[in-house]
């Protein structure tokens, strides 16, 4: 084995080690920073697995569930799979000023975490609108908001 071959093998080995290390760190980091997209029904079905990770919860604001606290700083409402009565729903607590379009029955996406108290704490409240800027049709199910909600660069952020 000539010295140049040995050098080359050494460099290749070092590269492989560095690449493996990078992949290890990257995959570990990704695992900790996943954001899950769930409807209230899907999230509740996860049980205790839903406690902890960042979640984007999508659904509609349940009619009659909107409440402001006395100081008008915290807003609570329920997000439901659909606006039918009896659809699975989750209470949400938000300290953010809601965007102009926010109202009952509108599609929303709240980003935050869920815990044992069964309350979803929202750090970001986005009103769901389609890319083509038309109101959701009556028949649009939960799959529809999944495809139409705008991802990170939404102006509602």
């Amino acid at each position: 084995m000539t010295s140049s071959t040995r050098n080359r093998l050494f460099a290749l080995g070092a590269l492989l080690v560095a690449g493996a290390g990078l992949a290890y760190v990257a995959f570990g980091n990704i695992g900790q920073n996943l954001v899950f997209y769930w409807t209230p029904g899907e999230m509740l079905a996860q049980g205790s697995k839903a406690y902890g990770p960042t979640i984007r919860l999508g659904g509609v604001v349940q009619p009659g569930s909107l409440r402001w606290d006395a100081a008008h700083t915290h807003l609570s409402f329920r997000v439901a799979d659909t606006d039918q009565p009896g659809a699975p729903s989750v209470p949400v607590l938000s300290s953010e000023t809601p965007p102009q379009m926010f109202r009952e029955r509108i599609g929303v996406v709240v980003e935050g975490t869920f815990d044992r108290s069964q309350t979803f704490t929202s750090s970001r409240l986005m009103v769901n609108h389609s890319n083509e800027y038309r109101p959701p049709k009556p028949g649009d199910g939960p799959d529809k908001w999944k495809t139409t909600v705008s991802a990170p660069t939404a102006e509602a952020r």
Partner: protein
């Protein structure tokens, strides 16, 4: 009438590209000199057809011909003329059509510049580029045809996406990005030609470098303008969100930047050939991947206009390019043998090699975070995304290491450096870096990574300025030239070096601006009635009242704000919310008070006309403007480096550094 004419032109372009691709590659493989004239004709025909098809579409848009499918999608009689013309790239089909025209312009430009070269290389390169042209004209003629007929003809259309007609930057940002994206076709063709022939000579390498620098410049401008647009228009209080589409433009920029550096090693030391060529192939693959991600609707973002059917077509093309690239590298790559070797550990080429590894690592991590959700969803059906913390945690250390190398590389000579040289080169810049950190600490700034970035920025900027000014001082002393003349002549004698350093200064600016604006941001929200105020940092923000207005294509409500800064100076701001006639959702326009060192950024979140009251998001972003103010440095530096040199200068000028102990000739230090 317009629909058939447009379709016919696209089909004509498809035929010209297919013919030229076959003749070019066949002629190149058999070294047929006569084929070049035929291919040049095909290129011209392709150009005329594609540009013609675009003009037809612009005509249809301007005349509101709603019988054309695309016009019925994005046109509207209420839209102002400039945004009507711009709607050409405001939705999927039109933007692909526009892609085709830019592609044709690039291929034509390349064919004109190299029509007198020995024909084999240009034939292979043009054949490859036209093969890409076949795919795009097929896409326009078939799956993404904008010229379809609509019947019955609607009286009016919805107008372009309101977000896209909210700011004049939308007129500039997409063409810049497209020019960057599409331009990567040219280096791809050049690299494929080099691989097919199994040789990469100095002249062809210079061609490859120049044709990478052009799209690289447009891509840089496009990315920075995109960040500026997100900041000035979207109003979520930021400029970069690691959105898949932002990443899509960033990835080819990373590999192209790595290429521009490894190309210098290839030129100086005649090694890293295969790596350099691979980077060119990767840049093109990543632009295709980026276009796929942006245009197929697999990601939802402001950029993905509609769910469309072009996804599968694009995936097939992407797969084909990937297979061809890997095959070429595997089969022909070993022919690109290095003719030299790298120097010692403390040398320019080693630091560039490290820089390339860091760029590759950054590309890998960003690519992984971008496509991971897609892959996971495809296999398990679980919808997820990767949060921004992943990207920040991975990219910040890599970025800081790159900033450090930006100071190290230019300080070291090619070949081998003695410990004495290293010490002398690093003493002053390192002292400046430490001094910067000390001053920041004394000024009360905190944050380990932020201060490290500032310190390294000081270090890298000192090295860059010294390397720029050292030859000037030598000229002033030895040739007794006055300063302006010495500056001009030393810059003109080593254009690429000088231009590169100017770009480096721009990059340092961006680093400092990102670190400051991310670390020292101040944010609050408030709801005000007229006359009420809130305090943010040194600013007092007072609501005067609400005002409404009507324009042809929109209504708006603005909050009239009086801002008083720490020194008592007053300024009126009016963040507003726009209601477009044909859309249900309001689109906000933030109001920004820009100063040299910080921006006050206000958005109107919600308002109530009855009370009246208004809610705001308010931020202070330190130094954020420096990100876009770096643009002139990028453009000037790149233009200076890429400007065609006169032959006399090209043969005579050397770009040797005035550094002692430099290896006398390439390979001598082996």
């Amino acid at each position: 009438m317009t629909s058939p004419l447009g379709t016919a032109l696209v089909l004509g372009g498809l035929l010209a590209a297919a013919f030229g691709a076959v003749v070019g590659i066949e002629g190149g493989l058999r070294h047929r000199a006569g084929a070049l004239r035929i291919v040049l004709g095909a290129v011209t025909a392709f150009l005329l057809c594609m540009v013609g098809a675009n003009l037809v579409m612009v005509y249809a848009l301007v005349t509101h011909d709603f019988s054309v499918h695309y016009v019925s999608m994005v046109g509207s009689r209420a839209t102002p003329l400039v945004y009507t013309v711009v709607s050409l790239w405001s939705a999927l089909e039109g933007s692909i059509l526009f892609w085709g025209a830019i592609l044709a312009v690039y291929v034509f430009g390349f064919s004109r510049a190299h029509r007198h070269d020995p024909p084999t290389n240009p034939l292979l390169a043009l054949g490859t580029m036209l093969a890409v042209g076949v795919f795009f004209s097929f896409l326009i003629a078939g799956p993404a045809n904008p010229f379809g007929r609509v019947s019955p003809v609607p009286p009016d259309g919805p107008g372009p996406n309101p977000l896209l007609q909210n700011h004049i930057l939308m007129v500039v940002h997409p063409p810049m990005l497209y020019l960057g994206y599409v331009g990567m076709v040219v280096p791809f063709g050049i690299a494929v030609a080099a691989l097919i022939r199994g040789q990469l000579g100095d002249a062809w390498m210079a061609t490859l470098r120049r044709w990478t620098l052009i799209p690289w410049t447009f891509l840089s401008v496009g990315i920075v303008l995109g960040a500026w647009w997100a900041y000035a228009v979207l109003g979520w209080g930021g400029y970069w969100a690691w959105d898949p589409v932002e990443n899509a433009s960033f990835l080819p920029w990373l590999t192209a930047t790595a290429f521009l550096h490894s190309g210098m090693v290839q030129e100086r030391r005649h090694t890293l050939k295969l790596w350099t060529v691979s980077l060119s192939l990767a840049s093109f693959l990543l632009t295709i991947l980026g276009t796929f991600m942006t245009r197929s609707g697999v990601f939802n973002s402001v950029h993905s206009f509609t769910q469309s059917e072009i996804g599968p077509t694009f995936l097939v093309f992407l797969g084909a390019v990937l297979v061809v690239s890997i095959l070429l590298i595997a089969v022909r790559g070993p022919l690109l043998v290095p003719e030299g070797t790298l120097g010692g550990v403390a040398s320019r080429e080693t630091s560039i090699l490290l820089n390339n590894l860091l760029f590759a690592a950054l590309t890998f991590t960003v690519l992984l975070g971008t496509v991971f959700p897609l892959v996971r969803e495809a296999f398990s059906g679980v919808r997820i995304s990767v949060g921004a913390p992943y990207f920040n945690r991975m990219a910040v250390p890599l970025g800081i290491a790159i900033l450090f190398l930006m100071g190290v590389g230019p300080s070291l000579p090619w070949g081998r450096a003695s410990p004495e040289t290293v010490r002398r080169q690093f003493l002053v810049p390192a002292a400046v870096g430490v001094a910067v950190v000390a001053v920041c600490l004394a000024a009360g700034l905190r944050g380990g990574l932020t201060l490290l970035t500032f310190g390294l920025a000081g270090f890298a900027a000192t090295v860059t300025l010294r390397e720029m000014l050292l030859p000037v001082r030598v000229r002033m002393r030895e040739q007794r030239e006055p300063l302006p003349q010495a500056l001009f002549r030393s810059a003109a004698r080593a254009r690429r070096r000088f231009g590169g350093y100017v770009v480096h200064l721009g990059v340092v600016m961006v680093f400092v601006a990102i670190a400051a604006s991310q670390s020292y941001v101040v944010h609050t929200t408030a709801t005000l009635k007229p006359g009420e105020r809130f305090q943010l940092g040194p600013y007092t923000v007072q609501l005067a009242g609400l005002r409404n207005g009507i324009e042809p294509h929109r209504r708006w409500t603005a909050a009239e704000i009086q801002v008083t800064d720490g020194r008592g100076r007053q300024q009126a701001l009016a963040p507003r919310m726009n209601f477009y006639e044909r859309s249900t959702d309001p689109v906000g326009s933030p109001a920004i008070r820009s100063a040299a060192f910080e921006d006050l950024y206000l958005t109107l979140l919600a308002f109530d006309q009855a009370t009246p009251s208004a809610s705001f998001n308010a931020w202070i972003f330190p130094m954020v403007g420096w990100i876009w103010w770096s643009l002139p440095l990028f453009v000037f530096g790149a233009l200076f480096a890429a400007w065609p040199e006169r032959r006399r200068v090209r043969s005579g000028a050397t770009e040797r550094l005035p550094v002692p102990n430099e290896a006398p000739s390439p390979g001598a230090a082996a």
